[in-house]
Every structure is written in structure tokens, then in C-alpha cells.
Symmetry: C2
Subunit: 412 residues, 2 copies
């Protein structure tokens, strides 16, 4: 089955909003093993929209639209579709009642124009909208299928999951299963190289890598008669990937790096404090993303100035003078200092040059030192990072937390 995604909305053509709907639907269709060859965006213009339907159905068997289901006269996605299929829309009293009830629930008066949202052809499959007034619909006609969804992502996503996925599964023989492995510390091209043969030959499961925010995601998707069988197919391939990438695979599924590290800290009852210079609070805030961290996170210090490094962390004035604030020696004293003044098992520190200015030939922008103190032992790591101020700071944070993760695993 060939599928296309057609977003309708002048606000997309003007660039007022990003078409995240297309990405969401594309990802979910890929999960289901359904091919998408084309995406398009058109404005709220009946002539151009009709042409877009014609061209889309020349190429595809199924078209999914988003947007243009509102109550105003600009919203024409449904109406043009009914014209395209030569279908007459009638008022569905039950749908109108649902819309009226929705307005009661949110304590607002329904305006007359909302009635428009209850008109559909008699034989359309109507898709319930749990979080808004605009129902979607599915029209099947002459071996073509049109699925019409609302534009706001918070309305579109639940409708897609609750109504569209079960509908599409009818067209699939068998059941799909997928598993996600999360990799850090190895870039996407290096990851792809290490498992190149698996990606190239993988049919069932298929294996794909995605890079985002300093990490790489590997998705394995298989198809079989039952879900259990599908997961059985994934297992040996997953094991082979894990064997090759080793400790770089930090989690499975929807688990973040800070969740992983937070859990290890809590399981081992290890308390932690942070001392940050160039990352300025990002390191602590990342750790604190994990809601369970409060029982082990003792304190974070943002010691941007030399003065605060001396006063708060007991970094020696001579160390600062001799080696400079951006040095492995200062990173070490910061990590040890914060652990000791807060009486924590672990101290994690950063000091570096995030730019745009402040760099020199000897200490260029992007030079960052991480200090890690664990139970009496202190070590440092030197990083040479690229990108702008924000990217250098973000990468330094990820590398620091990942180093902590690896050291914790080694010590177990």
C-alpha cells in the first residue's frame, strides 16, 4: 500500500508553524511497515486542494490529511474531499450531540458555525475527537482511501493512535513488534559502520539508526503471526548489536540517560553533588529531569567566578593561578570540593570555554574538563567540543553524565 501525507493550512505555507504532524505520522507509518513516498502542504484554497487530492491519488492508494477541520469558512479539507469523491454530506445528529456536550464540558457556548463539524457522507467512518470539537473521518471509494484528521497535534495524535492505527492494521498480514536501543558516546556514522552488515541485510527485523541530541537510537522492527513471535525474531539481532556496541548501549525503549544514571545512583544508595562552571546549571538540571533523583541529589553549585570556586568549593587559589580556571587540576579540585563540602559520595564538575569569546590558541573555545570524584578517588577528562555556546554546553553535560554512568557500571 502506498500512502501520502497531505497537510492543509495556510499557516504552514507562511511558516507560522512547523509541520510536526507529518513527522509524527511518517514515523508511525514506518513503524507499521507502510511506505510513504510523498508529503505535501497546501493552503486553505479549494482549487489548489482539489488538485492536490487528484495528484496524491494518482500516486497513492491512501492519503492522510491533517488540518482544515475547524468551524470557519476557511476550513475546507472535508468539503473539498467530499466533492472530490462526489459524496453528499448530511448532518449526523449523534455527532452534533457529542460536540454540544463537549462545549458544555468546557463551559462555553457552541456557536452556529460548529454545526459544520457534524456533516459527513452517510457511508463515512467517523473518527471521534477526544480533545477537541472536530471529528475526523475515513472515506473508502473506488479502491482509494482518504483519512481526514484534525490539525492540532494534541487532537491528531490520539485520533491517529486510537482510530487510524487499528484501521491500518487490517491491511497488514501479521503483527509488528519494535524495540529501541539507545546509544551514547558513539556517533551515528560510527554506529552505522559497526552494525553496517546488520542494517544492510536486515529484513525481519529491519534495523535503522537515528541521531538526535548527542545520542543515537537504533530501532529494530519485525513482523510475525503473533507479537511473541515478532519479539523472538528481534532477540538474536538485538543481542548481536549489544555485543558489538557494548557499554555504549545505555538503555532500551523510552528511557533517558539521566533516568539510567539516576536509577544506578538510587539502587546503590550513592549521593551526588555537582559543581559547574561553563555548563552553568545545565548538568544539575539534566540530572534533575529524573523525578526520582531527589533522594540522592544533595546539592548543585554554579561557581562561575574564581572567587566562588575558592569560597564554595575550596579550590586552591594557587591552582587557579598556576593552571587557570579551565584546567584538569581545577576540575579535579571542584569535583572533590563539592563532594566534601556537601558530604556526598560523588562529585561531578565541569569547567571549560563555551565561547563565543574567551578562547586562546592554547585553550580554544570548546575545551572542557570534567572532574569526577567517587569515594576518595578523583579523575578528570579533557574534551574538545565543536559548535556554538549552547551546543558545547549541552554536549559537555551529556559527556559528563555518560562518563559517570560508565564509571558507576565499572565499579559495580
Amino acid at each position: 500500500m502506498k500512502v501520502e501525507i497531505l497537510a492543509v493550512g495556510t499557516e504552514l505555507l507562511l511558516g507560522n508553524i512547523v509541520n510536526t504532524n507529518a513527522q509524527y505520522i511518517a514515523t508511525r507509518l514506518a513503524d507499521l511497515g507502510i511506505d510513504v513516498y510523498h508529503q505535501a502542504v497546501v493552503g486553505d484554497n479549494s482549487e489548489r486542494l482539489l488538485k492536490a487530492y487528484e495528484q496524491a491519488f494518482e500516486r497513492a492508494d491512501l492519503v492522510i490529511t491533517t488540518g482544515g477541520l475547524g468551524p470557519t469558512k476557511d476550513d475546507i479539507t472535508k468539503e473539498v474531499a467530499f466533492d472530490y469523491f462526489g459524496k453528499t454530506a448530511i448532518l449526523h445528529e449523534d455527532i452534533l450531540k457529542t460536540i454540544e456536550e463537549y462545549f458544555k464540558k468546557i463551559n462555553k457556548d457552541m456557536v452556529e458555525s460548529n454545526k459544520k463539524q457534524a456533516y459527513f457522507p452517510e457511508d463515512a467512518i467517523i473518527l471521534n475527537n477526544k480533545v477537541g470539537t472536530a471529528p475526523g473521518c475515513i472515506i473508502e471509494s473506488n479502491n482509494k482511501i482518504l483519512i481526514v484528521l484534525p490539525g492540532p497535534p494534541k487532537e491528531m495524535k490520539p485520533m491517529f493512535e486510537d482510530c487510524v492505527v487499528p484501521y491500518l492494521m487490517k491491511y497488514q498480514d501479521g503483527v509488528l513488534a519494535s524495540k529501541v536501543l539507545r546509544v551514547i558516546g558513539v556517533g551515528e556514522s560510527a554506529t552505522a559502520e559497526i552494525i553496517e552488515d546488520i542494517i544492510d541485510t536486515g529484513k525481519n527485523p529491519t534495523v535503522a539508526t537515528y541521531a538526535k541530541d548527542n545520542e543515537v537510537t537504533i530501532r529494530l522492527t519485525s513482523k510475525a503471526k503473533t507479537e511473541d513471535d515478532a519479539f523472538e525474531l528481534i532477540k538474536p539481532v538485538e543481542e548481536e548489536i549489544k555485543k558489538r556496541l557494548g557499554i555504549a548501549v545505555y538503555a532500551e525503549g523510552d528511557v533517558s540517560l539521566e533516568d539510567t544514571v539516576g536509577k544506578i545512583l538510587i539502587e546503590n544508595n550513592l549521593t551526588i553533588s555537582t559543581a559547574e562552571s561553563c555548563t552553568g546549571g545545565l548538568l544539575a538540571s539534566k540530572l534533575i529531569n529524573y523525578p526520582g533523583i531527589s533522594s540522592v541529589f544533595k546539592e548543585g553549585a554554579i561557581t562561575y567566578s574564581n572567587d566562588s570556586k575558592i569560597k564554595r568549593l575550596k579550590v586552591k587559589k594557587e591552582t587557579l593561578e598556576k593552571f587557570g580556571a579551565v584546567s584538569s587540576q581545577v576540575a579535579a579540585e571542584m569535583a572533590e570540593g563539592i563532594a566534601k563540602v556537601t558530604n556526598s559520595n560523588i562529585g561531578l564538575s565541569t569547567t571549560g570555554i563555551a565561547g563565543p569569546s574567551g578562547g586562546s590558541l592554547e585553550k580554544p573555545v570548546g575545551l572542557v574538563y570534567i572532574g569526577l570524584y567517587i569515594k576518595g578517588e578523583v579523575r578528570t577528562k579533557e574534551l574538545h567540543l565543536t559548535g556554538d555556546r549552547q551546543r558545547i554546553r549541552n554536549t559537555a553535560v551529556i559527556r559528563a553524565i555518560d562518563w559517570l554512568r560508565i564509571e558507576l557500571l565499572r565499579k559495580q
Copy 2:
């Protein structure tokens, strides 16, 4: 002139990345007063790409593509375009030299396949890539224009600004000028309501609002014979908008909230320290986004536990017991405490319930207190925020910094 945007890349069809390029280009074309009626996405497939060119040029005079300019055999945007126009590509030695120099600069060896990036038709206008290896190009043929740009946004954007905008200006009668006002503390719909008549009647300048990350941007764009004339047209409208929105307009142009506040602090030689609970370092890291802040930012404390609030900030044990950690009383003591222990003029604090758990009927998720100590005076603010953990924390940070901005302006 009718323009279309065509993004090329299987990674977009699979949903691995969002098509932010289309939004960027759409916004900039709207600024230039150029109409876009269609956007499309196709994969790295020569047959479908050729068809996409044909259909795009049936509708439009000018097509802008993004993506598919890499060195691998999958990257075919240029090659298919040359075929479409019936043009032969030849090796441009000067371009090859630029690419070779780029690799030297980043200390990497150029691979043979990169040579492909130096092939263009003899009469193509070649667009220099400042941050990557892939040059873009413009092909003019039979009253049709094709502009080919690289896919990575950090390469596409400077090429668009430096090469495409000046090129497109040739097709404009007159000169465009635009000005951006940044608004915080008033939502997009409220902003739009306050200046509704200006937006509705505005032709020259046009006025548009965009919402992003807790702030609203107002863009005024005018057209005139000269740039000075165009800015003259903007002036009275800008003044009327500023009059109506007052202090909510925090900056003009490409200036962030933290830049604005950082500058006020430095101008007035006011030192600041932060004490964070629920925001966990985000407040400090936001302030530190402003590279100039180091001379006034003394220290940040992330005191997540009661124990650290008592030890580090001298919050009274009785206050914590009587009112709880999430209370205006504790926010006040945190702000005053961090200012005093660090000897700063200003102390800014946050304490709240970011969720997902930890809320109660009396103190629900989203309840956040901000404490602000300025030179002997301490005040607090109670916020009721919505959204997930991340959103509550981010909004709390923006509201805290904006409150500081307003108080600083009032004290001037």
C-alpha cells in the same frame, strides 16, 4: 512570482527528522512578500524526484529544494535537476579547491566521492557553503528558476540569507525592511487581541505575531523605494504597538530575555546569585546563556533537599516545617539567603512542584513560588503553571527572569 519548496530526503519521509527548513524558508519568503502555494517532500529516488520537479514547475515559476547534496550515491537532487533541465555538469576546479580547503581546515581527508559536489552546469550560479562541503546552485532556464540548497539547517540558513535573499530581491520592486518586537508575559491570543485592528488593517507595514517558548514575536514588514523610507513606514506602527503593550515588549530584533536582563544588571553594576529548587539549575543556565554575565553572576545554588536549603541558604527549619518547602515563605528565605551568603545585590529563587508526582489538593503540580531579593527588600510571586515537568520548569524560569527584568526597570 509563484514559489514552491521541495524538500528531498528519505529521512523526512520516514519521519526521522522534522522539516524545519520548509518553515524557515516559508517565513523568509513571506517576509519578502513572495507567495508560496505548495510545499512537498520526496525521497532520494530519481524517478519520483523527476516527477516532483515536473509537477512543481507546472504550478510555480521558482522552486527551492533542500537536501540531497551530500557526497554519496543516494544524494541525487542536483543530478536529477540537471537531467530535468537537460544540462551537462562539469567539474569546477575552483569549487573543488574550496572543498579541499574545507577538509584541510577541519583536519580530515577528503574522500573521492566528495568530488561529486564540485560538478555543476557551466551556466549555473554556484552558491558558496560557509559551513559545509556542499555548494548550492541556481539554474535559470526557459523562464523557470531552480534554487538548490543543502539539507542541514546550519548550512542552508546562511546560504539562504547570504545568496538567495539578495537574488530574490532582484524580483522585488522596492526594498523591504522588517523589524521584530519581542513580547513576554502576554500570550499570543491576548497580544493579537490588543493589536487586532493593527494586524487586520496593516498593509504596509504588515504585522504578524508568532508564539514560541513562552514568548510572542511581532514582525513588522514594509516595502518602499529605499530602506530608510521603509523603516519610516514602520516607525509610527511600531510606536503604537509599544504604547499598547508597554513593558511587555522586552526587546527588539535578535535579543533574548537573558541578554536584556544581563545588560541591565551589568549597566547598573548589580551582582546576582540564584537559589533553585524545582528548576534545578535551569534558571542559572538561562542567565548564563548571556556570555557577558560573568562579571555580575556570583553563584548559583541548586538546593533540592530541605537539608541543603537549611545548610547552604540558611532557610529556617521552622519555616520549612510550618509552611513546607513549596511556600512563599521558603522562596523568600531562599532568595534572601543566597544573596547574603554570596554577598550579592540580588537573590532570585524558585521552589515548586514540577510533577509528575508530588502534588496534592492544596499544593497541586504546577504551583511554583519565585522569591526576589533586591538590596534589602524581598518579595515573592505565586505561579500556577500547566504542562509536563519540563514545561513547568521552563515556564517558571522565564517568569522568574521576566519578573526580575520588570523590577529592575521599575527601580531605575
